[in-house]
């Protein structure tokens, strides 16, 4: 046992520490990609990392050259199998990661090491293509510190310094680089938009709203608290129950699933003219959308225009040219009151179509209610009354609807969430000959009391209906909102779908809940600031920032000029610090005594040139008798350290301590 321990210790001493720093940094850099890249590539990468570690610990040998080439071929093949391409963001990252891990098998010369470390830094940046959150930024700073430590360790392999010193050196370098990096970040002219169009990834997994809606298929609505987007209103915030965030329109129903086959919204640039009349004052707001990997954008119902690099579809959805892969920010005008498409009836074919075999009972109900009502508007009211009066419940865990979801929901289960209500309501409208569509998006949001903005979360996702009425155009109807509060299952849901009612009956939450909530808002505010000022820092922000400094009308040339002047200044300051002559250590005793003399000199008791320490003490003690003990102690220590043949242990420390405490 003891021998084993000794053998391990010996082996540990043989290990090249620089390699360990590198492997640690690389492994941590790859960690966020786990789960994002297919296992077909992650597992080999982990295996190769482990192999290299084994080589470093002298446990295994490097693979022979033919095997390495075989592995390279396999990696390319695996990437191709996973993505059917080698280009684009995800396939490119996957290829880079595997090739980098293969390079670990061939890392003998300093040049190879430089390549591996350089590419490891590149891996860090690929993580930022997917996730730019504050935590990820902090985590990646750690990775950069490790990789930099590896560089320092490789550049002084022979030095007998502890590894801590390498870490400290790397941290010092990064700390000195930080102001320069900040300057570059703020002043380097930002070039908007992609330089070239990259193939969009087919396999990216999105979060948030889905492209289809199948009410009967979900037996449990997930409670995802992730932020969908944040909004800052320029003026007053409208009431929460009017905040319908318009997303996608679903026009086609096959009996189970709503979707939108409208091809026109796929091609960017297809312009649609709308018969749109705004009523009242517009609301101006800036929306910061979290990346959701899809192309649609959200806007308060009803937006008056589309943000740059996006178009509006025939169903008034805002479709971006590229899928939203990074934080996207845009400013819009919306009108809460509007009239849309009042002049011309929409195409019957699209908005009235129902598969012939579905929902026979719903059709009967529709026919009956329509016969009783005076006009279309009255019919809408009667359907809403039906939902209000019949025992419909709002629940997040509805029963599965297997055969005919609409009929089963309307007449049997009568339990569901917004999707069930929107779907059934739209079917009832179409069955009576009213053009209707399902809208999905978000409803409401919460005000962050610690910041001046709104948070809309994934759990605020909502579905409602739009019905076309003669002379009034498309009218938004939210059938979920008519369910009486006592039939809403949980308080949270009530808050969401009927905030006005919930406000009346709100109880004061206990202090722990309040504190937790407050902490959550605080954290969200930090994240929001991060998003606004770091992730969302673009050309506009840059110019606004310079304007704030009083530098108006800056173009990029002047910005570059300012940048270089600033860089030169900061580099000069750092160089001044670095090249300042520092006395070598060893004269610490003299330093400490000189400090003592300076302290006294400030009180008008300067030491004369060539005055001995003892004479000096003898001269000043009568002038400051209250300090006599301290002065004698320091003088004695100094003389002993300076002139005695053998110095007392810890003498220097005592002297320094005494001088520090000495306050004349």
């Amino acid at each position: 046992m003891e021998r084993l321990r000794q053998a391990l210790a010996w082996r540990w001493r043989q290990v090249n520490r620089a390699q360990l720093w590198l492997l640690a940094g690389l492994a941590l850099a790859l960690l966020p990609h786990v789960g994002r890249l297919p296992w077909l590539l992650i597992l080999p990468a982990a295996l190769l990392l482990g192999w290299r570690l084994g080589v470093e610990l002298k446990l295994v040998r490097l693979p022979p050259r033919p095997l390495r080439w075989l592995l390279v071929g396999l990696a390319v093949a695996a990437t191709w199998v996973s993505y059917q391409t080698l280009l684009g963001r995800e396939a490119g990252v996957a290829l880079l990661v595997t090739m980098l891990c293969l390079k670990l098998m061939e890392m003998d010369r300093p040049r190879d090491v430089a390549i591996v470390i350089g590419l490891s830094y590149f891996v860090v940046i690929t993580v930022f293509l997917f996730d730019q959150s504050l935590l990820m930024g902090a985590y990646m700073l750690l990775v950069v510190a490790l990789l930099t430590t590896a560089l320092t360790a490789f550049s002084r392999p022979e030095a007998s310094v502890p590894q801590r010193a390498n870490l400290r050196l790397a941290t010092t370098l990064l700390a000195q680089a930080a102001p320069l990096a900040l300057l570059l970040f703020v002043l380097f002219p930002r070039i908007p938009g992609p330089l070239w169009h990259l193939p969009s990834d087919a396999t990216s997994v999105g979060t948030g709203l889905s492209e289809t809606m199948s009410p009967g298929n979900i037996s449990r609505l997930s409670d995802n608290d992730a932020v969908a987007f944040r909004v800052r209103f320029a003026g007053d915030t409208p009431p929460r129950d009017r905040l319908y965030w318009r997303g996608l329109a679903l026009t086609h129903f096959d009996g189970r699933t709503w979707h939108n086959p409208n091809e026109t919204r796929r091609d960017a640039g297809a312009a649609h003219s709308f018969d749109f009349t705004a009523i009242g004052e517009p609301l101006r707001y800036t929306l910061t959308l979290e990346p959701h990997q899809r192309r649609w954008l959200f806007a308060l119902d009803m937006p008056a225009s589309a943000p740059p690099r996006s178009t509006v579809s025939a169903d008034v959805e805002i479709i971006a040219r590229d899928s939203v892969k990074t934080l996207r920010q845009y400013t819009l005008l919306s009108y809460l009151d509007y009239r849309l498409g009042a002049g011309r009836a929409p195409r019957q074919f699209t908005y009235l179509r129902l598969p012939p075999a579905i929902a026979p009972r719903a059709r009967i109900l529709a026919r009956q209610l329509r016969a009783e009502s005076r006009d279309d508007a009255d019919y809408v009211q009667r359907v809403l009354d039906y939902i209000r009066q019949q025992p419909f419940y709002y629940t997040r865990e509805p029963p599965l609807l297997l055969d005919d979801p609409v009929d089963e929901f309307l007449f049997d289960s009568r339990r569901g969430f917004c999707e069930h209500y929107a779907s059934a309501f739209t079917v009832l409208m179409r069955a009576a000959g009213l053009p209707a569509r399902v809208m999905t998006g978000y409803l409401g949001g919460e005000d962050n009391p610690l910041g001046d903005y709104f948070i809309v979360r994934q759990s605020d996702a909502h579905a409602w209906s739009e019905v076309w009425l003669r002379k009034r155009g498309w009218v938004r109807i939210d059938p979920t909102a008519v369910i009486p509060p006592e039939r809403v299952e949980s308080r949270e849901d009530l808050e969401r779908i009927a905030p006005a009612y919930a406000a009346l009956t709100r109880e004061a939450p206990d202090w722990a809940k309040r504190l937790w909530r407050k902490a959550g808002y605080g954290w969200d505010r930090v994240n929001n600031a991060w998003n606004q000022w770091v992730v969302g820092y673009d050309q506009g922000k840059q110019l606004a920032f310079l304007k704030g400094l009083g530098l108006k009308g800056f173009d990029w040339q002047r910005m570059l000029g300012l940048l270089f002047v600033g860089l030169g200044l900061v580099v000069a300051i750092i160089a001044l610090q670095l090249f300042r002559r520092r006395p070598p250590p060893g004269n610490a005793v003299g330093e400490a005594y000189a400090r003592f003399c300076r302290k006294l000199a400030r009180r008008g008791l300067a030491r004369k040139p060539a005055e001995g320490a003892r004479d000096y003490a003898a001269r000043i003690i009568p002038r400051r008798p209250e300090l006599a003990t301290q002065i004698r102690h320091i003088t004695r220590l100094y003389q002993r350290l300076r002139y005695a043949p053998s110095t007392p242990r810890d003498g220097l420390r005592h002297l320094q301590q005494a001088v520090r405490r000495f306050r004349p």
Binding site: P110, R111, A114, I115, G118, Y121, F122, V124, I125, F128, L129, Q132, M136, G137, M140, L151, T152, F154, S155, R156, P157, E158, A159, S160, L173, L174, Q176, A177, P179, L180, A181, L184, F185, F188, R190, I191, P192, G193, P194, L195, W196, K325, T326, V534, V535, Y537, L567, V571, I574, A575, L576, L578, F579, R580, R581, R582, P583, P584, P585, G586
Partner: protein, 334 residues
């Protein structure tokens, strides 16, 4: 005191250099010419350029910048700029790692042609900043790497392969460092006004020319030599320890020195004419003979076409003879 902070503010140590000389590319490539004594590496002497790894790093950073622009990744920009700033800072650190060092050389022991000369180089660090991985080398020679602690010094024996006999000016020493990140290489040239002596390559074991040995006294001479034990005398300070008669000391009888009779009275003249071959071959043979004669404790002399070294023995005679052989035909013989 304050004016000494920034090396630039210091009065230039050699005001003899004109601006044109300072900026000439020859200085950049060849250095400033030999100097005597210790040499301080001021900023005038230290140059810096990116290494090949540094260029690769720059290419990666450029790619990162393009990627950040293309994907509008703000943190990508941040990382790119952090790395740019890091390399700028590293450049300053690399430069500082060489700046202010004092370089001096010691006398190098002469070696035979074909061997490796070890030139003792001292790096002194009068500053409070330790220096790491400073590499030194003569042109096309092996490198020596050392660290110099703050306020301390380091000494390396810098290898220089001896290729030609004679007294040569010491080639220029290149001091270089890529610490701390290996992205930049700072270097400085140190050229010293020093010479090294290289003896001819000794020929492989050539027997001594026995016919030129003659014995003056058959029984050995008087006086002091190293061969025949002649008796003991009282110890005088300065006697060689190998001649001290330790046995009497061990017996407690006091300290005595062994006395030897005169050397084996063989005298040997090593003559240019007895050696065969061309000039270099003859010198090689003579070098071999000098070494053998020295090892055999002969009294020997050396006859060269241009000079004659009289009979003598011991290390001094050996060095004299080898030097004469090394410098043969070098004109003034200096």
């Amino acid at each position: 005191m304050r004016s000494g902070w920034w090396p630039c503010c210091r009065p230039c140590p050699s005001p003899d250099m004109l601006l044109r000389q300072r900026l000439s590319p020859a200085r950049f490539l060849r250095g400033e010419g030999p100097r005597a004594g210790p040499l301080t590496l001021r900023q005038r002497r230290v140059f810096i350029l990116p290494t090949r790894q540094g260029l690769f790093f720059a290419a990666i950073v450029l790619l990162m910048l393009i990627g950040s622009i293309n994907y509008d990744a703000s943190l990508g920009y941040a990382l790119t700029f952090l790395l740019v700033a890091l390399s700028l800072v590293a450049m300053l650190h690399t430069y500082r790692n060489l700046l202010g060092l004092r370089v001096d050389i010691g006398p190098a022991e002469p070696v035979f042609c074909g061997e490796t000369l070890r030139v003792p180089v001292t790096l002194e660090n009068p500053t409070g900043q330790a220096r790491f991985t400073v590499s030194l080398h003569f042109p096309q020679q092996a490198k020596a790497v050392c660290d110099v602690p703050a306020g301390g010094w380091a000494r390396v024996a810098l290898p220089l392969s001896a290729k030609r006999r004679g007294r040569h000016a010491l080639p220029r020493i290149t001091l270089a460092t890529a610490f701390p990140l290996g992205l930049f290489r700072a270097w400085a040239y140190a050229e010293f006004d020093a010479r090294v002596l290289i003896y001819p390559r000794p020929a492989s074991a050539t027997p001594l020319p026995r016919d030129s040995v003659w014995q003056t006294e058959l029984s050995g001479g008087q006086g002091q030599g190293a061969d025949d034990f002649a008796g003991l005398r009282n110890y005088h300070p300065g006697d060689a320890p190998s001649h001290v008669h330790w046995k009497t000391l061990a017996r407690g009888q006091g300290l005595y020195t062994k006395q030897f009779g005169g050397d084996r009275a063989e005298e040997l003249w090593l003559d240019w004419r007895t050696a065969a071959g061309d000039v270099e071959a003859r010198l090689s043979t003579l070098t071999c003979w000098v070494l053998e004669a020295d090892a055999g404790h002969f009294r020997y002399g050396l006859r060269l076409p241009d000079q004659v070294l009289p009979l003598a023995h011991g290390p001094a005679q050996r060095d004299r003879c080898l030097e004469a052989l090394a410098l043969f035909g070098a004109g003034d013989g200096a």
